[in-house]
């Protein structure tokens, strides 16, 4: 360590920077493994019941046990979202379900409905209760209320500004979790039953069909009953919509750390392996870099670029710095930004022959420009050369999902590194 480095280290130490948890979503066991391997300190998943993603794969109790076991190898925790607002018919099974979560070794539930929190305290005392963002806790008194109810952590509503977060942290001694990346309800979370009204699907029990992103025409009533109402749009104007751009805070990691927030949460239990690994990887590097040396921290352009490779919607910084304006919403057709796709998973690399063994995840063939990335700063691109199957037969392309293929890769790789290809 040079003198300068040790001075910087002690500066970080003097400022007592608190290391935040990086919390990632995982829609299934593979995504969970990747999230943890790419640097998540904790992962949240959904079970078969009581979660808000009824369309996701979701975990069985057995898979939860595997998830906990795998995560523990990395010292990572597993949380389960039980964030519905229950109806009468849901009440009976809650206790048995929560007991099973405790048995599976789940560290915490993320709950919105107080009856689920109360039941957890009774039947699964080893499982922490984290108050979900669905409760829209946006002031310190409300946060204090949940602390007094026994919750060690409150996930704030996404309407909370950085300044408000700082005040909440100052006033209440409880862990604070905030969303830093991903899609957001444009309403106060939970305060929306558009899906119920449009499609008879209960949004607060996982049936949300994202009606806020649909296109609407805006009119004003004409006082005159015989005249037509007044359209509040010109013919070539885009339609009205309630669609919020996705959140991203990679540029504000230092401010987030300084605010004292305990957990940085990434949204996206429905997102792909490629998305989860890429986003976790970028935030992991930013967080570690700042904590390592806050005075010399520089936001790397590379992290931003990485995020954009996975993003499938436009991005913005939500309510953190000011109230979302026109530029923070999507009017008209949604841009599809996603520019890269998961092409293969690295299973093995032979340093002597430079031959990589790769499991195919999407079509690729020789001459394709691909990119490899992994935790610990692996990031390079190269052209695909001759591809062989696992018996040594030359292939004109890797066509089959999960097919194991081999080809020469010039730089070293590690198992679980990802190969991505450019789209379009």
């Amino acid at each position: 360590m040079t003198l300068q480095q040790s001075i910087d280290k002690s500066a970080a130490h003097r400022r007592k920077l608190h290391k935040p948890e990086l919390l990632a979503p995982a829609g299934n066991l593979e995504k969970l493994k990747m999230a943890v391997h790419y640097g998540a300190d904790a992962v949240y998943i959904g079970g078969q019941k009581y979660g808000l993603r009824s369309n996701a794969d979701n975990f069985s109790f057995d898979e939860m046990k595997q998830a906990v076991e795998y995560a523990s190898r990395y010292d990572a925790k597993v949380f389960v979202a039980t964030n519905i607002f229950a109806h009468n018919e849901d009440i009976e099974g809650i206790a048995a379900y929560l007991e099973q979560l405790q048995e599976a070794g789940i560290s915490a539930i993320i709950a919105a409905d107080p009856i689920i929190m109360e039941t957890a305290k009774q039947v699964a005392p080893k499982v922490e209760v984290h108050v979900s963002t669905q409760q829209s806790s946006v002031n310190w008194r409300t946060v204090q209320y949940w602390k007094e109810e026994g919750a060690p952590r409150v996930v704030l509503g996404r309407e909370t500004s950085m300044q408000e977060i700082i005040e909440i942290k100052k006033r209440v001694d409880v862990e604070i979790e905030v969303f830093i990346h991903g899609a957001m309800c444009s309403s106060y979370s939970g305060r929306c039953v558009l899906s119920n009204h449009f499609t008879d699907r209960d949004s607060n029990r996982g049936g949300c069909c994202q009606s806020c992103r649909w296109q609407y025409d805006l009119y004003q009533k004409n006082g005159n009953p015989v005249a037509a109402d007044i359209p509040l749009f010109a013919e070539d104007d885009p339609a009205f919509s309630m669609s919020a751009k996705d959140l991203f805070m990679i540029q504000n990691v230092p401010a987030l750390i300084e605010s004292g927030v305990d957990s940085f949460k990434i949204e996206g239990r429905m997102k792909t392996v490629h998305y989860v690994a890429t986003v976790v990887n970028a935030y992991r590097q930013a967080i570690d870099s700042y904590l390592d040396n806050p005075d010399r921290y520089v936001l790397k352009q590379e992290w931003l670029e990485e995020i954009y490779k996975a993003a499938n919607r436009p991005l913005n910084d939500g309510f953190f710095f000011d109230s979302p304006a026109a530029k923070d919403h999507i009017f008209g057709p949604e841009d599809k930004l996603v520019s890269y796709d998961f092409a293969g998973l690295v299973l093995d690399y032979d340093a002597d022959t430079k031959i990589a063994t790769i499991q195919q995840r999407n079509y690729f063939k020789p001459e394709y420009e691909v990119e490899f990335f992994g935790p610990n700063h692996t990031l390079f691109h190269q052209k695909v050369e001759t591809i062989w199957d696992d018996k040594g037969n030359e292939l004109d392309a890797a066509r089959h999902p999960l097919q194991v293929v081999k080809f020469k890769v010039n730089q070293p790789l590690k198992p679980m590194d990802i190969m991505r290809k450019k789209l379009g």
Binding site: D113, I115, A234
Partner: protein, 313 residues
């Protein structure tokens, strides 16, 4: 069996409306001050509220004040003062959703009856019981519940009162975002100019595949609010609803004229009285629905809401 008649509650926007509505048959009114209450049919200043409470009490009607927003740090100080005043003025109940209200009342050491109203989130009896333990004496049920759920909820509650909306529109979306303003800004040089997005402007949304349905939308200091395209009207099925004794039936008066609300109140008043005079012999008088239909906006259908619906997820 001695059955308790439910109270007939209506939201009111002014002192005049309170007098009118009580005269038309309302037992209680729900009012609010725009700094603290959201989606109220009119604004009462703090002093108006004092007068409203006195007026209503003279007329033997109750006054519930909505403090039903989701609050931010900056709101808390003023909220404390307001709660203190309401307590002194002997408001009959505060309608709340944010637990900050419970914290503030504890700190101020004041006791005001509390009605727990988390809009679409008040969906089961067990959670209602939870809020009862925290001091609420009434649950205002989500309008997205069906008949069976409403009845089961009431049956499963010992002493907590149950309030159900029987008429009017409902809020279906609340965002803190200034979505209408943002849309106008996005349109930029568009020929369409608009800078007032209040509920008085009577704006509405039409979804591409649901022509004919008009969803009222407005924006205020609390963000953007979208309302239902239909009005709940349960007068024809009041006997079914009242198979289990409910404690309060609410008429939502927001975005309706006082004259409209007066007609609606009068009809429900008659219906409730007639039902309780002799439940076995009760029949819905078609004239009630006729009277309501006469004043009903032709673009807004009267429906049973979610009363007979099965939702999936």
């Amino acid at each position: 069996m001695n059955r308790n008649k439910p109270e007939l509650l209506v939201t009111a926007g002014s002192l005049e409306e309170i007098q009118m509505y009580v005269k038309a048959g309302a037992d209680a009114v729900n009012i609010g001050e725009n700094n603290f209450g959201v989606r109220m049919p009119g604004n009462f200043t703090t002093l108006d509220i004092k007068e409203a409470i006195e007026t209503a009490h003279r007329l033997h009607a109750k006054v519930y004040v909505s403090i039903n927003n989701l609050y931010h740090n900056d709101d808390l100080e003023a909220l404390s003062v307001y709660l203190q005043q309401l307590s002194e003025w002997k408001v009959d109940a505060v309608v709340f959703g944010d637990p900050a209200i419970i914290m503030l009342m504890k700190e101020l050491n004041i006791q005001i009856p509390l009605h727990w109203n988390a809009e679409m989130l008040s969906t089961n009896y067990a959670t209602a019981t939870y809020w009862e333990r925290k001091g609420a004496n009434r649950v205002v049920l989500a309008r997205e519940l069906n008949l069976e759920e409403i009845h089961d909820t009431k049956r499963n509650l010992q002493s907590m009162e149950v309030q159900v909306q029987v008429h009017g529109m409902t809020n279906i979306y609340h965002s803190r975002r200034e979505l209408l303003q943002n849309y106008a800004a996005h349109q930029g040089k568009s020929s369409v100019k608009q800078d007032d997005f209040s509920m008085e402007k009577e704006m509405y949304l039409v979804e591409e595949e649901r022509e004919g349905l008009q969803f009222p939308i407005f924006e205020d200091d609390n963000g953007t609010h979208v309302m239902s395209a239909e009005d709940i009207c349960l007068i024809e099925v009041l006997d079914e609803l009242l198979e289990v004794d409910l404690d309060s039936l609410k008429i939502e008066g927001i975005m309706k004229s006082a004259a409209y609300n007066e007609v609606v109140i009068a009809c429900y008043r008659e219906a409730i009285d007639q039902y309780y005079a002799n439940p076995e012999e009760y029949e819905c008088n078609p004239a009630w629905l006729e009277r309501i239909k006469k004043v009903q906006d032709e673009h807004r259908e009267l429906t049973f809401g979610f009363l007979f619906k099965e939702q999936v997820y």
